[in-house]
C-alpha cells in the first residue's frame, strides 16, 4: 500500500518520490498489467493537489491518499483525451451556500471508484480546481464501456453540485500542466514496462514453441521481428526515463522530453503488443491468453492524455519548429 503515497510528500505521510521513482514504479505496473486507480489517484490527483498547494486540503486529503484509504479522481475537460476531444469545461458559481458546479466532463478515469473528485471548472476569474465529494448532491457518474476492461471511464454530470474551491499558490493552468507532465511520464513508464514484458513473454514463447522440428524463434521471420521490437522497447525505456530525469530536475527541456516519451512510448507499446499476437500465432487469438489484454491496454494508453501524433506535434513546437 506504500506505493499509493509515492507522489505524496513525506510530510503528508507519503514517500515523496520524484518523477524518476514514479516512472520506475510504473514500468512494473505496465509489466504486471496492474489494474486500479493508481495513475489517476496516486499520481494525477496527488500531483495536482501538491501542485495547487492548498495547505489545509492537502493536510486533510494527502495522508489518507498515501494510506490508501482515500481514492481521488481528476475531472479536467480534454485532459485524458487531449487533442481529439474538445468540450466545454463545467462552470462554477459562488452562491450564498458555497460553490456550485454545473456541466459535464467525459473520459474521467477511474471516477467510479473515487471517494472524491478534483474538478476543474470555469469561474469568473478563470479556471479553478474544486473538491467534490463522491456522494455529493447533483453528481451523476455514468460508466462508459471500454475496450480495455482494466480501464474504467465515466462521464460525469454536475447539476448544481456543491463543491469546495481549492486554493492555489500558482496559476491553475500551470498546476494542471505540471501534474499532467508527471502523469504523462508515468504513463510512458507503464508503456515501456508493458512493452518490455510482452516482448519477454513472446521471446520465451518463441524459444519453446516447436514447429517444423525447431523452435519458431530460430526462424528469421520471428527472430527479426523480435530484434525490431527490442529496439522499440529499449527506445521507449530510454525516452521514458529521460523524461523522468529531466522532469525531476525541473529542467527547461522537460516539456519536450515528455512529449517525446509520450509519442515514442505510445507507438512502441501498441506495436510490440500487436506484433506479439502475430508472433504467437493461434494461441494468442484465444481469449484466455494474456496477449490481447496487453494490446487492449496499449491501445488505451496510446489515447490517454494525448495520442502519439498529438505529442509529435507538441514535440516540434517545444523545439520551436
Amino acid at each position: 500500500m506504500g506505493v499509493l503515497g509515492v507522489a505524496v510528500p513525506e510530510r503528508f505521510g507519503g514517500i515523496g518520490g520524484d518523477a524518476v521513482l514514479i516512472e520506475a514504479l510504473m514500468e512494473e505496473v505496465g509489466a504486471a498489467l496492474v489494474c486500479g486507480p493508481f495513475l489517476s489517484s496516486a499520481v494525477f490527483a496527488a500531483a495536482l493537489l501538491e501542485n495547487l498547494g492548498d495547505a489545509e486540503i492537502s493536510a486533510k486529503l494527502l495522508p489518507q491518499m498515501a494510506a490508501g484509504s482515500l481514492i481521488a479522481a481528476v475531472a479536467v475537460q480534454d485532459a485524458a483525451a487531449a487533442g481529439t476531444q474538445s468540450g466545454v469545461a463545467p462552470k462554477a458559481r459562488q452562491k450564498a451556500s458555497g460553490w456550485r458546479i454545473e456541466g459535464e466532463v467525459a473520459y474521467v478515469i477511474h471516477a467510479d471508484a473515487a471517494h472524491i473528485l478534483l474538478v476543474a471548472a470555469e469561474t469568473s476569474e478563470g479556471l479553478r480546481v474544486f473538491l467534490v465529494e463522491g456522494n455529493a448532491h447533483g453528481l451523476a457518474r455514468s460508466p462508459l464501456s471500454t475496450f480495455d476492461k482494466t480501464l474504467r471511464l465515466s462521464r460525469l454530470r454536475f447539476d448544481a453540485t456543491p463543491a469546495r474551491r481549492i486554493e492555489a499558490r500558482r496559476e491553475t493552468t500551470e498546476a494542471l500542466a505540471n501534474a499532467l507532465d508527471l502523469v504523462r511520464v508515468a504513463l510512458a513508464g507503464e508503456q515501456a514496462g508493458g512493452a518490455r514484458r510482452v516482448l519477454d513473454i513472446t521471446v520465451d514463447y518463441a524459444k519453446s514453441r516447436i514447429q517444423f522440428g525447431r523452435p519458431i524463434g530460430s526462424f528469421q521471420a520471428i527472430k527479426h521481428m523480435a530484434a525490431d521490437l527490442l529496439l522499440e522497447v529499449e527506445s521507449a525505456t530510454s525516452a521514458a526515463r529521460e523524461a523522468a530525469r529531466l522532469l525531476s530536475m525541473g529542467s527547461a527541456s522537460a516539456g519536450a522530453a515528455v512529449s517525446l516519451a509520450a509519442s515514442a512510448c505510445g507507438d512502441a507499446f501498441v506495436k510490440v503488443t500487436a506484433d506479439a499476437i502475430q508472433m504467437h500465432g493461434g494461441i494468442a487469438f484465444t481469449w484466455d491468453h494474456d496477449a490481447h489484454l496487453y494490446l487492449r491496454r496499449a491501445r488505451a494508453d496510446a489515447q490517454l492524455f494525448g495520442t502519439p501524433a498529438f505529442h509529435r506535434e507538441q514535440y516540434l513546437r517545444a523545439m520551436g519548429a
Binding site: 471511464l153 525447431r214 520471428i222 502475430q278
Partner: protein
C-alpha cells in the same frame, strides 16, 4: 450428354439452363425454396463438370461456367459445386466407393454438416506434426487426441480429420485422412473464445472415437497427399473471400467506402494527415479488387495466377491498416466499446479480428514462405525433421 460443337453447344446450353431456371427458380434474387439444392442436383446443374454417374454432365470448364453464370444472374445458389464444394470434391477424388455412395449426393444436397479437424495445439503452421493418433483395430480406427480451430464442430455430422497412423515413418508419411463421424461419445466439443469475445471455433477432444475403415480416404499413410488435394479445393473455393468487421465493410465501390463514410462522419476528411492515411487504405483495397479481377481473368485463360496466393496476404495488410486508420480517425472515442458506441466497437473488433486473417489459415509468415517458394521459386529452408521417424522429431 453427347459431345457437341463448341459454338453452338454454348448457346444451346445457355438456353437449357435458362429454361430450367425459368421453370424452377422463383425469380431474381429471391430466397431459395425448400429442397432447392436437391432439385439442382436432380437437374444435373450442381456439378456439371462431373461424370454423369455422379449427376454431372462431363462439361469442360468453359461450358460449366455458363451454367454458373446463369445461376448467378438470377441469384440462384447450388451450381458449380464441382468447383466450390470442398467436401464433395475431396470425397469424390479420394474416397472409398462405399463412402462416396453414402455421402457424395447428400453433400451436394447440403444434407450433411461438415467440419475440419486439422489443427492441433502443437500443430498450427506445421500441420504435418499432428499428434492425434488413429490406430487400426480390425475394421475401424480408434482415434485419440485434440483438435482446435474447428468451426461448426457442434453441428457437424463428419469431420475431415488428419491423424497419425505410423509413428516410425517420417512426419509427412505416417498420416491418415478420415471422414470422422462426429456424433459419437468419443467426440467432445468445447467452444473456444476468441480475443474478439466471439466463439466461432471449437476445441474437439477425441477419446477412443471410432472411425470405420471405409471412412479412410486414400492409403492409411497417404493422408498428407489427400490433405493437399483438400487444401487445393479449399483455396480455389475460398477465392477472394475474407472476413471484415462486424458491420459495413463489404466490396463496395470506393466512392462509398465505409472508411470514408466513417471519416466524413467524424469530420476527419478535413484533416490532411488523415486524408493521406485514408487514401492509402482505400487504394490498397481497390488494388486488391483489381488483383482479384486479374486473377480471375488469368484463370479463365487457363494460366495459373500468382495473384491468387497474394490475396490473403494483401487482405491481412488491408484489415490491419484499416483498423489502424479507423483508430486514428476516432481518437479517444476508440477507448470505448460495446453497442452504445458502434463506431468504436467496429474499430476495436476489426483491430482484433484482423488476426483472424493474418494468423488463421496460415499465418502471414507461412503465406510469404508459400509465395516465395511456390510462386517465385525460391529454395526451401533446410527441413531438419523431414526424413526423421516422427517419434524422434522435436515437438513443443
Amino acid at each position: 450428354m453427347t459431345s457437341q460443337t463448341p459454338r453452338g453447344s454454348q448457346e444451346a446450353l445457355r438456353d437449357e439452363v435458362r429454361a430450367w431456371l425459368h421453370a424452377n427458380w422463383p425469380g431474381r434474387d429471391r430466397e431459395a425454396p425448400h429442397g432447392w439444392l436437391a432439385k439442382v442436383v436432380e437437374g444435373r446443374w450442381a456439378v456439371p463438370r462431373w461424370p454423369a454417374v455422379w449427376m454431372g454432365r462431363d462439361l469442360d470448364d468453359e461450358h460449366a461456367r455458363i451454367v454458373e453464370s446463369e445461376f448467378a444472374a438470377v441469384g440462384a445458389p447450388g451450381a458449380g459445386q464441382d468447383r466450390t464444394n470442398l467436401w464433395a470434391n475431396t470425397l469424390l477424388a479420394r474416397g472409398t466407393d462405399a463412402l462416396k455412395e453414402k455421402l457424395v449426393l447428400p453433400l451436394l444436397r447440403g444434407e450433411v454438416g461438415m467440419c475440419l479437424l486439422y489443427s492441433e495445439p502443437g500443430a498450427g503452421s506445421d500441420l504435418a506434426s499432428v499428434r492425434t493418433r488413429a490406430d487400426r483395430q480390425g475394421d475401424h480406427f480408434r482415434v485419440n487426441g485434440q483438435k482446435v480451430w474447428t468451426s461448426f464442430a457442434a453441428t457437424a455430422d463428419y469431420g475431415m480429420l488428419i491423424a497419425r497412423t505410423d509413428w516410425d515413418a517420417p512426419k509427412h508419411k505416417g498420416i491418415g485422412f478420415f471422414f470422422l463421424p462426429m456424433k459419437q461419445p468419443g467426440v467432445q466439443v468445447r467452444p473456444l473464445r476468441q480475443i474478439t469475445g466471439e466463439s466461432q471455433f471449437n476445441e474437439v477432444f477425441l477419446t477412443d472415437a471410432v472411425c470405420p475403415q471405409e471412412n479412410l480416404l486414400g492409403e492409411a499413410t497417404d493422408g498428407w497427399g489427400v490433405l493437399q488435394t483438400a487444401l487445393a479445393y479449399e483455396r480455389s473455393a475460398m477465392g477472394e473471400a475474407a472476413r471484415g468487421p462486424r458491420r459495413g465493410m463489404g466490396q463496395s465501390a470506393p466512392a462509398d467506402d465505409p472508411l470514408i463514410a466513417l471519416a466524413r462522419e467524424a469530420g476527419a476528411m478535413e484533416d490532411p494527415v488523415l486524408r493521406q492515411e485514408i487514401a492509402k487504405v482505400v487504394i490498397l483495397k481497390r488494388l486488391n479488387t483489381l488483383n482479384a479481377t486479374r486473377a480471375k481473368a488469368d484463370m479463365r485463360q487457363g494460366t495459373s495466377s500468382s495473384l491468387m496466393s497474394l490475396g490473403k496476404l494483401a487482405m491481412s495488410r488491408i484489415l490491419h491498416e484499416e483498423a489502424r486508420v479507423r483508430t486514428l480517425i476516432l481518437g479517444a472515442e476508440s477507448l470505448l466499446d460495446g453497442p452504445d458506441h458502434p463506431r468504436a466497437d467496429d474499430t476495436n473488433f476489426l483491430t482484433l479480428n484482423a488476426y483472424f486473417t493474418s494468423i488463421g489459415g496460415g499465418t502471414d509468415q507461412i503465406q510469404r514462405n508459400i509465395i516465395g517458394e511456390r510462386v517465385l521459386g525460391l529454395p526451401k529452408e533446410p527441413e531438419i525433421d523431414r526424413d526423421v521417424p516422427f517419434r524422434a522429431v522435436r515437438t513443443s
